[in-house]
């Protein structure tokens, strides 16, 4: 009986130590959040999760289990669950009818919980939902572009938001480019920011391009973006030969190819001719033997 007791206590102690050890081995974690609202009014929360073992630096937390919650009064309503990628990143598309508080703010809480590798952690985001719209006349030669920031009040009316910095950009192939050196305009009392678009920005073959107005990473609104196509760009004709043959180009000049082919081809021709002659030596020997 005593032996059984000792065995049970020892087993429990070992298991307890193992569990504690496993818990002690978990990495510290942290979450950074950002919010963006696109032209189609889709709202996305991006999370960057970092992990750190004791004595090491923070590095992206791969395959961490993340839960996204919306704050409804004092409760948290689960929106979605996700797993981080190799760079510790993940995101969630927020529902259109997000619950708002009395100040017209919405709250998002992101939690790293019940993960075998990382310790639990959470981060909260509280932002105001605003709309950003662009008004422009595509054929306006003065190239005046107006971006309007509005919010819906508690009584359901639309109201302009003043003193919001709006940045104006042009969409390029791999990102956005500031439309001018001074490309930030604050909204007025009506919530409007008027920007005179500069001339000479290259567009496509018909001068078409996409203009972008953005509230960039604002503490109160996050990132809100609106895009619109227009024909304000400079017409750039299609290059007939965008990658000409040259020494420092993608393709070698014909002169070089021909010269090298003649030189090396000539030498290798001699080699093959020699092999042909040597083969004849062999054939002659065979004929001698046969005769």
């Amino acid at each position: 009986m005593n032996i059984m007791k000792i065995f049970s206590i020892t087993t429990a102690a070992v298991l307890l130590c193992g569990v504690s050890f496993a818990q002690a081995q978990k990495s510290e974690s942290s979450i950074q959040l950002s919010f963006s609202k696109k032209t189609d009014n889709s709202k996305i929360v991006n999370a960057l999760v970092m992990g750190k073992k004791s004595g090491e630096k923070f590095s992206p937390a791969k395959n961490a289990h993340i839960s996204f919650y919306a704050k409804k009064e004092k409760e948290l309503v689960l929106i979605t669950k996700s797993i981080t990628d190799g760079q510790g990143k993940t995101n969630a598309l927020l529902p259109k009818d997000l619950p708002l508080d009395t100040g017209r703010y919405f709250g998002i809480t992101v939690k790293l919980e019940n993960d075998s590798v990382y310790e639990n952690s959470e981060e909260e985001l509280r932002l105001k939902d605003v709309n950003l719209a662009i008004q422009l006349n595509p054929h306006d030669t003065a190239r005046i572009m107006t971006a309007t920031v509005t919010e819906i009040t508690a009584d359901g009316n639309v109201k302009g938001v003043k003193d919001v910095p709006i940045n104006f950009y042009v969409q390029r192939l791999f990102g956005i480019m500031p439309a001018a050196e001074e490309h930030t305009v604050n909204t007025n009392e009506k919530g409007e920011a008027v920007f005179s678009f500069p001339k000479g920005i290259p567009g496509d073959t018909a001068g078409n391009m996409t203009v972008v107005a953005r509230i960039d990473d604002n503490d109160m609104y996050g990132t809100v973006e609106s895009q619109s196509p227009c024909a304000w760009g400079k017409v750039v004709p299609l290059e007939k030969d965008p990658f000409p043959r040259e020494i420092w180009g993608a393709q070698a000049p014909w002169g070089l190819i021909i010269t090298l082919s003649i030189l090396y081809g000539g030498v290798w021709f001699c080699y093959f001719f020699m092999f042909f002659q040597l083969r004849k030596i062999k054939t002659e020997e065979d004929l001698t033997v046969n005769s």
Binding site: I257, L263, C270, Y271, F273, M274, L278, D286
Partner: protein, 490 residues
Amino acid sequence: MSKTIYPDSNIPAELSVEVIREDSLRPTRKWGRSTQIWLGCLLMVAGWGLYAYIHQLRHGLGETAMRNYVSWGLYISTFVFFIGISHSGTLVSAILRITKQDWRMPITRIAELMTFVSLLFGGIMPIIDLGRPDRIANLVIFGRVQSPLMWDVMSILTYFTGSTIFLWLPMIPDMALSRDRLTVCDSRFKKFRKWLYTKLAIGWTGSKTQWKRLELVMTIMTIVIIPVAVSVHTVVSYIFAMTLRPGWNSTVFGPYFVAGALYSGSAIVILAMVVFRKLYHLEKYITYRHFDLMGRVVLALTLIYAYLNLNEYWIPAYKMATAEGHLLHDLFSGSYSTAFWLCQFGTVLFPIIVMCFPKGRTPGMLAFICSLIAVGAWVKRYLIVVPTLLHPFLPIQDVPQDWAQYFPNWVEWSVTMGALSGILIVITLYAKLFPMMSIWEVVHGAKVEENKRIATEKGEHEEEELLKAESVHAKTSKGKTTIVMANGNK
């Protein structure tokens, strides 16, 4: 199979065809204990080099001393050195063959063999320098024709193929001889040798048509191999000269590399001549005259190399442009100055002075001088590659200490010594399988000498007869007392 016919008449008694053949083939039948010990030692070094290379392959190039700035270290220096040696075959064999220098005959095979082995291992060195050798295939798949690296691969491949053919062609009649002699002589690996000699002899019987064909292909090969060899080292110089770096940005690099290659290559041939002459008792064939003539060749090449060397350093030193100036200061009076000046004085100027005197062109002296030249040429390649990489146009700042300096570590030394052992293993195995002299050419040379001797004796006899007749005529016609000597002097 019909018996081989050889052009073998009128050979002096002391150098009869049979003596030449036996002297050439005898060493291939012996595998003495010393050979086995020598090969064993070389295999151990090569094995250690292979272990170091596998270590480098498993753990990456970070296991070497090479870092971001010095990415071409000992491996690429050795590559340039080995490619340089490969010019020996072209010089001694092709150039002397085309200029009809008959004295070359006993040493052509040694020179051609040096070309073959140095190219074989020289070509491997850049692959060793790659952290991921499997990516060499990318050169073929994605290679840019505009890149000097691509030209380098093409040139070396072409030259290696040509050199292998150039080594093999004069071997064909000798292979037939070895094949036929094997039936009567006792030797190791008899079956393998029989098979090898038969394959390499490609059914040579020595018929007139076969000789005609062989002479044709050898003439073509002799003409073709010279520009190919010159192009190889020129292109090797391009991988340096076509980059914008202090010390490499030079228009003289092409001829400078070719001259340096011929200078070091011919020195290596002399070293090999000394070794094989001694080991294989070839004193009758590789005489003092050969050393004297090869010494003159090396002297001429050293002078050309010295002239180009002067141009390479004097012109930028006169200008001392900022970046070049930093490099030159480091070479002339900085951390590389000892090696630099030892190279200039010890392996260029000193050999010139010594080889100017006939006593400096004896086998012993030449062995010493050529050893200096060989080591100096290797160090010089290192001085071309490494200091330039440590002096980029944008100064090295805020980097770990080991990035801003370089000296090869045990991995690089082991791999390089392994490659050197590989060269010596191939030379040893070759020398134990094949004759180290081109037998038929030496026989031909002996025949030419014999004909010359007969012609000279005949000429002297006729001259004596003529002088006697003249002296009698002089006495009788003028009636004066004139003493006429047999050689015609009064």
